[in-house]
Amino acid sequence: MNIFNNAALLIGVPLLFAFSIPLFGLISKELAKWVTLLTIGFNASFSFYILFAHKYPTMVVMGNWLPPFGENLYIGPVAAFLVFVISMIGLLIAIYNLWAIKKGDVIRFSVLFLMFTAGASGIVLTGDIFNLFIFMEITGISSYALAAFGPERRALGGAFKFLVVSSIGSTLYLMGVTLIYTQLGTLNIAEIAARINQTTPGLLTFAGILIISGLAVEAELFPFNGWVPDTYTGAINGVSASLSGIAAISAVYALFRIAMTVFGKSGGAYVSTYGKIDLMALIALLATATVIIGELSALSQKNVKKMLAYSSMAQMGLIAVGFSIGNKLGVYGGIFQLVNHSIAKSMLFLIVGVLVAVGVGENIDDFKGLWKRNPFLTLTFSIGAFSMLGFPLFGGFWSKFSIVAASVQRGGWYDFIIGLVLFASVVEAFYYLRIVAYMFASDVELPKVKTPITPAIPIFILAVSIVAIGIFPQIVGTFSAQAAGELTHKMSGYILHVIPSIAAH
């Protein structure tokens, strides 16, 4: 047991500054944005320190009560890496927000955005199943409010849909947690994970179904994802970027932490779960349906933003397919794809945001001949698109590669699943390439548009990182591999680091 309590600052500092931003806001609106930026910057640098300089897996104990009695944060390879990714993307979107958020209640927007990022980090960090719910609600409430923010009324409609579905989802999650508590009398993830087979199978299955259903809402899996297109389309682009780049990471993390660590059987080549039905297989089915439905829906969209929304949905499905294969390679691919998706998709949303702001528009027809009008945004958009469709030498290739490899390795009906997913990928390739082809059309004569400098910085950094990951996949790969090791070996990867004394037996 390796305790590093100072890592509580990852949550504490954002909270402190979130509470104090209204005071900073009394001085200047800009200051509020800068405080947000710097706070997320602190988180990013601190998580960078943990990831590269500190020894992990490590643990934060809250209030000096050791797990399983008190609450704890667990910083394993997964959490360390994902917190870093979340904070970095949050930082970049905060830079974008400096430019994008000029009107409306800027101060409170900053508070919400800061807590949105911190809440997502909290989901990834926490080691308590109820605390996970709290952080989900922190992320959730701030994202409802953020999604409703904006001059357009469609934002409100989208946010309301999100709110309704997500409330039901969180209620279901809470029910499931309660059911587990009746059986095991504890809320600590590690202890539940260690003792999960002491529950009765029927109740366990039911609780698992409730929890998975609840989490699937935010993880955008099929029947639970009705809110996705409207919310993503309605929200302002910075918020859509953070929804797909930040909230998605934490939601998928939560889903698979529960499915693989809490419910998972230890041992065996592939992770499967206790209970009457295998939750991993259930998720695999949902994920496949999500991929196909998402890609097919995206195909006929004329609105790029909506298309990106559907594509997000489909990508989440692909990520979930990767995880649900359940071997190390699959989880590796899933995490890799998660990172790629959040980088590329948030970049694409930011680009659409810039394009809308400079007067190009968000429909496919507006993209015609963009190369002549603004090469920078065209190039970065193409990079994002290529990463999305898994073009070699772009980030997305390696993850898709691993997912396909893993499912082939697993064989059985996963061959069928991956066949469907690959079909959907062809569809995906079509609509992304269609946009790229439109952008490079030279038969359109329209005035040039300038790229504003501030939002260009995050877009540039994200594009460079996509290419860098594509060329040196080790950048993400090493961490993904460690993370996959943690998720697929629940005893040695998680439980023993949190409650070492379980090992005595």
């Binding site: 409207d230 073009f391 396909v404």
Partner: protein, 621 residues
């Protein structure tokens, strides 16, 4: 010194980088491209059969061996592709089309990699590199909208293909744990007796990819579009070299079928091969029939390419020594004559600015060198001795007859006759007949282009008359595949199973008879040259009928009478299948999209319904 194989890949990559930097200046871009091709050709002389090189790529703690291995087949393919590329890039020095040299160099790198690699990872990477570079190259055609459409279509097919191969690579890797192509092929051969269906499934994953790239029958629909709308100087490479990657891939995997113990046979062939042979024959016939009715000359020759690849597939699917020899030989011949034809077409189109046959005509007086190249090209393509297309077609018939496949042979023969028909149509419509007044100022291509055309003419005649220079290396390839090579005689012999052809003899005979003919021509009474519109019109003058050279030229609906015969077949559209698939996908997409056109309550319904389904599933389980 085995690492020189790698330089085959790196030299083009470096050249490509330089060319990409210089890309704004078109001439420099082309110059770098040409010189890189030439350097690569020189580098080839240092590469020998049997060389191999392995580079252990450390990828995240896993060792992935990237291995190169030069076989007889690879060195043959390397030589012909690089040599042709050198000619083409030399031609393109003076060309105005929007082909981008650095993309061609990327394809060259992929080309050298594909032909030399012995590991599936490298093969896959090179394949992707080649595919994408060619897709982007297609984009630069004259008609931007069409070429974008074509590139998108090509990209879709190519992506579908690469996913298929991707899947196959991983399946093999899972089965054997090795990434080496030769190991895997040997493994598949060893289990084919026990699990024929397994092997068939895996191999067909690869074959779908190869068939898409080569444009074989059910997957040919991208071919005419991509060939027709690609930049004019890129089409020769696309048709001549790039379609052969698929053939190369097939040749890598074909030896498996030698050992089918578990499979029933049909007509002395394993039934899989039999079906595959028919696919090839269908390709040949369908391509021919479709080519009759095209008005775009590039599209016509695109269908012609497609048809010729059908010949190759039909030949190699027999996997007999004659068949494989004939297939590889035809691949070479096709590269040569179709490359020459497309180069001349590029010349014509660059001078006339159109690719519609109905808008051309009578160009032979203005562009004589191009005309003769084209003439020899179509003579080769029609398989007329002593030009180079003859030997391989003749061998293909031999191979088919040897297997007692008269019907397939007849269909191939029909395709060949049909080929003569559409080739003549193109020949007539472009070069013969009445010349429109528009083209009165058309000039012959620049000297650079003429040099290339002379070289191509020479090559087509030389390799026609001296087939031994090609058949000997092919013999080595065939024996390296475990087949008995054809007996080699003197250079001029093409040796079949039933009879032999000594091509120089034919050439001599032709030469003498032509001499006699011309002597007769010149000793007889004098003739005088007249203008083109001065011809027999039943006593009328064309001007009196308001006939202009354009309307007097007969090139529209050239083969209308037989359109009716083929009409029932036109109703079956393979293109329609893919289009239908696309439409179906789009329709499904709209239908599925409806799910998400709803309100908050309905979404809540979905969520609860999903939960209920799980609950029921939990009960059932």
């Amino acid at each position: 010194m085995n690492s020189n194989i790698i330089w085959l890949v790196f030299t083009p990559l470096i050249g490509s980088a330089i060319a990409a930097i210089l890309y704004r200046v078109k001439f420099l871009d082309r110059l770098v491209t040409f010189s890189t091709f030439a350097i690569t050709l020189l580098l080839l002389f240092s590469v020998h059969v049997g060389q191999s090189y392995t580079f252990n790529l450390n990828f995240m703690g896993k060792i992935i061996p990237l291995s190169w291995n030069v076989t007889h087949l690879s060195i043959f393919m390397l030589y012909i592709s690089v040599a042709f590329g050198t000619l083409l890039t030399f031609y393109s020095l003076m060309d105005k089309s929007r082909m981008k040299g650095f993309l061609l160099l990327l394809i060259l790198a992929a080309n050298n990699w594909i032909f030399t690699t012995n590991d599936m990872v490298g093969f896959f990477f090179a394949w992707e590199l080649m595919g994408w570079a060619s897709i982007v190259s297609v984009l630069g055609g004259r008609d931007e909208n069409s070429s974008r459409h074509a590139a998108l279509y090509y990209a879709m097919m190519s992506i579908a293909g690469s996913y298929s191969m991707f899947f196959g690579v991983f399946t093999l890797w899972k089965l054997t744990g090795s990434l080496s192509i030769s190991t895997n092929v040997a493994y598949l051969s060893s289990i084919v007796g026990m699990h024929p269906w397994w092997v068939l499934g895996i191999v067909s994953l690869f074959f779908v990819t190869f068939m898409i790239k080569a444009g074989i029958f059910p997957f040919h629909t991208w071919v005419p579009m991509a060939y027709a709308y690609a930049p004019d100087t890129f089409t020769p490479f696309l048709s001549g070299v790039m379609s052969k990657y698929g053939i190369y891939g097939m040749l890598l995997f074909l030896p498996i079928s030698l050992m089918e113990k578990g499979m029933p046979a049909a007509f002395g062939l394993p039934w899989v091969n039999y079906i595959f042979m028919w696919i090839g024959v269908t390709t040949a016939v369908v391509g021919t029939v479709l080519a009759f009715f095209q008005d775009d000359v590039k599209k016509l020759f695109a269908y012609s390419s497609f048809s010729n690849l059908g010949y190759i597939v039909a030949a190699i699917s027999l996997f007999s020594s004659v068949g494989v020899t004939a297939g590889i030989y035809h691949a070479f011949n096709h590269l040569l004559f179709k490359g020459a034809l497309f180069i001349t077409l590029a010349a014509v189109i660059s001078r006339t600015g159109t690719s519609k046959m109905s808008e051309m005509g009578g160009l032979w007086r203005k562009m004589p060198v191009t005309f003769f190249t084209f003439f020899i090209g179509i003579a080769s393509a029609a398989g007329i001795p002593p030009f180079n297309g003859f030997g391989s077609k003749w061998l293909i018939y031999q191979a088919m007859i040897k297997q007692h496949l008269p019907f397939a042979t007849v269909m191939l023969f029909l395709a060949s006759t049909g080929a003569f028909m559409y080739l003549f149509k193109a020949f007539h419509s472009v070069f013969l007949g009445q010349r429109s007044a528009r083209y009165d100022n058309v000039k012959e291509v620049p000297v650079v282009g003429q040099i290339v055309e002379y070289l191509l003419m020479f090559a087509m005649i030389f390799f026609g008359v001296q087939p031994g220079y090609i058949l000997k290396p092919i013999g080595a390839i065939v024996s390296s595949m475990g087949l008995k090579p054809l007996p080699t005689m003197a250079n001029g012999y093409v040796t079949g199973m039933f009879s032999n052809v000594y091509v120089p003899l034919i050439s001599w005979s032709l030469a003498i008879s032509f001499t006699v003919g011309f002597i007769l021509f010149f000793i007889s009474a004098k003739h005088k040259y007249v203008s083109q519109s001065d011809n027999y019109t039943a006593g009328q003058i064309p001007e009196e009928w308001n006939l202009t050279p354009e309307t007097y030229q007969f090139s529209w609906k050239f083969y209308e009478p037989i359109e009716g015969i083929f009409a029932p077949f036109f109703r079956i559209k393979i293109d329609g299948f893919f289009r239908g698939l696309a439409n179906w996908t789009a329709a499904t997409s709209s239908a599925i999209k409806e799910i998400f056109v709803s309100n908050a309550q309905i979404y809540a319904f979905f969520a609860v319904a999903g939960l209920i389904i799980f609950v029921i599933a939990g009960w059932v389980a």
